[in-house]
């Protein structure tokens, strides 16, 4: 049994019930047993002084890649969950594009066992929507749901065939579990390695146009309307996508969506030059940084503005990392050859907190998007820091400044374009089920 923990004098922010104030929080038997203005400590308590820090529900990541089984050289459940804890997360939803993909009950059970044995925090499995994620035959969704699947996705690839997509949405609808789609029309993104823009033109890199994403978002909206199934659009990246989703929500379509930290804060110009000025649009010998190669690609500043607006007006429901760790072999090569993906679970909160500093989103919005909002999509009781709830708690120092050094990541994936950036705000402690895990 873990020790009782008393968190003193922190600013508790719990968007689930609109709490924002200085409280003491007591954890007993892995449960939050008391939240009061003052709790008298006793000798059995481990005390955490949270003065000048915020205390929030442990974060929930609806979209990350833990790479186990099959690509343990990139990440494992052990390293990925430690990295998640360092990023303030207590719940990770793992994408099924492992080797083999998580497309059957034994695979889910095996992953659950690995998670129980080696995971530092909670891992909830997402199962493949189709067998082997090949997009041809639906997985046994009823059985997978019973085994613990919280979503179905062929992420890494889109569910390409519109007929299969229709069936997936229809079949899953009685389970109240979302189909999570990576929207990308491959014929339009063909050979593309970055956003199609003046930057790709200048760098001579094949581009991926916004329409590659948007045309599949539009299709999925229509198919959700047709079937009533819950479509969750993964990592939206364009202003056109959020416009479509905004209109769909007005019509009452059963749609939710997520945005990543990198699409909210970075643009494609960092592939040209990290220190671009508006007088000088030149390459530097740091150009073509493969660590900024991600799919969907980093877009333009007007897309970023649209994504921020959409997060604020509720069109975008949640922030999810799409943490995609890779090894050096995948990234120390030319931009064309490099794998897509960013290792970002340890920088996620701090990266987006810059938007709070810039007054583009509120602190409450940021925390809500990482806690109660994803919990609602999961239909789970997490993401709510209340008396008698499981003690998943994150404590953050909003003022601490730190320099990103990927070599120090707990994740095996050092592929971060933020290498060398100074971020403000840092996770101070992460408590998972009453245990300090970071």
């Amino acid at each position: 049994m873990s020790k009782n923990i008393l968190i003193q004098k922190g600013r508790l922010i719990n968007p689930a019930n609109q709490t924002d104030g200085i409280y003491d929080i007591l954890i007993q038997n892995n449960i939050i047993s008391d939240i009061s203005n003052h709790i008298q400590p006793n000798n059995n308590f481990e005390i955490i002084d949270a003065t000048n820090k915020i205390v929030v529900p442990g974060f929930i990541d609806l979209h990350c890649h833990l790479r186990e089984p099959g690509q343990e050289f990139k990440e494992t459940v052990a390293t990925g969950t430690l990295a998640g804890a360092a990023g303030g997360f207590t719940t990770l939803c793992a994408m099924p594009n492992t080797i083999p993909p998580i497309d059957s009950k034994p695979h889910i059970e095996s992953l659950s066992n690995i998670s129980k044995e080696t995971g530092a925090i909670r891992v909830l499995p997402i199962a493949s929507a189709t067998m082997k994620s090949e997009g041809k035959i639906l997985t046994e969704m009823f059985e997978l749901a019973d085994a613990g699947a919280i979503g179905f996705s062929d992420d890494g690839n889109p569910i390409y065939d519109p007929f299969i997509m229709r069936q997936a949405l229809s079949y899953s609808s009685q389970l109240n579990i979302p189909i999570i789609n990576h929207c990308e029309v491959p014929e339009l993104s063909k050979h593309g390695v970055m956003n199609e823009s003046w930057v790709s033109t200048q760098l001579g890199l094949p581009g991926i146009p916004n329409s590659a994403e948007e045309s599949m978002v539009a299709r999925d909206i229509m198919l959700s309307k047709l079937t009533g199934g819950h479509i969750h659009i993964a990592h939206v990246s364009t202003s056109g996508s959020v416009n479509l989703i905004r209109e769909a929500k007005k019509e009452g379509v059963n749609i939710t969506c997520e945005v990543t930290p990198h699409h909210l804060t970075l643009t494609d110009t960092i592939i040209l030059n990290k220190n671009l000025s508006d007088q000088n649009f030149v390459t530097s010998h740091h150009s073509y940084d493969t660590r900024a190669k991600v799919n969907p690609p980093l877009r333009t500043s007007s897309d970023v503005q649209s994504l921020i607006e959409a997060l604020n007006d509720g069109t975008i429901d949640i922030i999810a990392t799409d943490h995609a760790p890779h090894s050096d072999i995948d990234k120390i090569c030319t931009f064309t050859e490099a794998a897509f993906g960013i290792s970002n679970i340890e920088t996620a909160f701090s990266q987006i907190y810059q938007l709070v500093i810039n007054q583009q989103i509120s602190l409450h919005k940021l925390i809500e998007s990482l806690t109660i909002a994803p919990a609602r999509i999961l239909g789970a009781q997490y993401g709510n820091l209340e008396k008698n709830k499981p003690a998943d708690i994150t404590i953050i120092d909003l003022n601490e400044q730190w320099k990103v050094n990927p070599e120090k990541f707990l994740s095996k994936g050092k592929n971060s374009p933020l290498d060398g950036h100074t971020l403000t705000s840092k996770v101070f402690k992460t408590i998972y089920q009453g245990k300090i895990v970071f």
Partner: protein, 322 residues
């Protein structure tokens, strides 16, 4: 470690005066090429590696010749096998040639940005970009500008027209960066499927971007009207196969340069081509060999320009930084 500024990665990293210095020095190099004894000792003791991951006779041999005339040792490594699409290839080759203490590496690679990658890996050698993917071909652009300047005197306000497969052309990209330093008027022409969207319209381009002043003319006649330079680009058959064009026949009917179409241009306009030429597709045989053509002169100037470039980068090595 080499000063990153001494690499020749693309013309955006060179100042106007650096470009002018190379063009001026190419005149001196031309004198050596025209003399009876074509050998100097300026690069004696230097080692140059030409590292080509794509077949190219012209560019590679002109670098080799340029290096040898200046007295350098030249090692040619050709690696155009299909293995080069595997990730390890450039990286592993780079590690291998690190052991050969080369002063200069001339790299040709099918992937845009490959020389930037190599410059980070091999910090003891100066990298010269001899063509990377669709991105840049700075030495070709320098020789193009050298030939243009010879014929036009100045490049300021001159109308330079590029026709055809702009999307896939590293030559055009480098020429744009170089020519805009001189204040030339750059005009692009061709079917829209071969032109990147930001060249068709500049509305998404930031102010002060070197692409901001490029003009797109959809019709060939309008494009070559008053042109000082006409440069049709090589059109590869793949463009038809990959759905960018209905047929080469239609392309050549509407955008191919024939003697008849040239009648709409100024009589003293010059016709250039970055090579290799697809006669009968983007340009007719009798234009290639006609009186407006300076295509042979481009080939000849390639050696002089590359001599000037090799000299400049090896001299820059005096600027070694820690």
């Amino acid at each position: 470690m080499i000063d990153p500024k001494s690499h020749i990665l693309d013309l955006d990293l060179m100042s106007l005066s650096q470009v002018e210095a190379i063009l001026d020095d190419a005149d001196e190099m031309t004198k050596i090429l025209n003399s009876d004894f074509k050998k100097t000792e300026e690069l004696k003791g230097k080692t140059i590696i030409t590292l080509f991951f794509e077949p190219s006779t012209r560019t590679r041999s002109s670098f080799e010749q340029a290096g040898k005339i200046l007295g350098a040792d030249v090692i040619n490594i050709v690696n155009s096998s299909s293995s080069s699409k595997k990730g390890e290839s450039l990286y592993n080759t780079a590690l291998t040639i690190q052991s050969i203490k080369s002063d200069v590496i001339v790299l040709r690679h099918p992937h845009s940005g490959a020389p930037y990658f190599l410059s980070k890996l091999l910090q003891e050698s100066t990298i010269i970009n001899a063509g990377d993917g669709m991105h840049a071909h700075p030495t070709q652009a320098l020789l193009d500008m050298y030939v243009m300047k010879k014929h036009l005197g100045t490049l300021k306000n001159k109308r330079i027209v590029f026709i055809g497969d702009i999307s896939h052309s590293r030559v055009v990209r480098s020429n744009i960066l170089g020519l805009s330093k001189f204040g030339a008027k750059i005009v692009l022409c061709g079917p829209q499927t071969l032109i990147p969207p930001d060249f068709l319209s500049n509305k998404h381009l930031p102010e002060n971007h070197p692409f901001k002043n490029i003009f797109y003319e959809p019709k060939l006649n309008d494009a070559i009207d008053q042109a000082d330079v006409i440069m049709p680009l090589r059109l590869q058959r793949e463009r038809q196969d990959s759905g960018l064009l209905p047929s080469l026949r239609e392309y050549s009917t509407y955008f191919g340069i024939s003697l008849k179409k040239l009648q709409n241009a100024k009589p003293n306009t010059i016709v250039m081509h970055p090579g290799p030429v697809n006669e009968g597709v983007e340009i007719d045989h009798n234009v290639v060999h006609g009186q407006n053509s300076v295509i042979q002169e481009q080939v000849f100037s390639g050696v002089a320009i590359r001599m000037a470039i090799l000299k400049s980068v090896t001299q820059n090595k005096a600027l070694k930084v820690e």
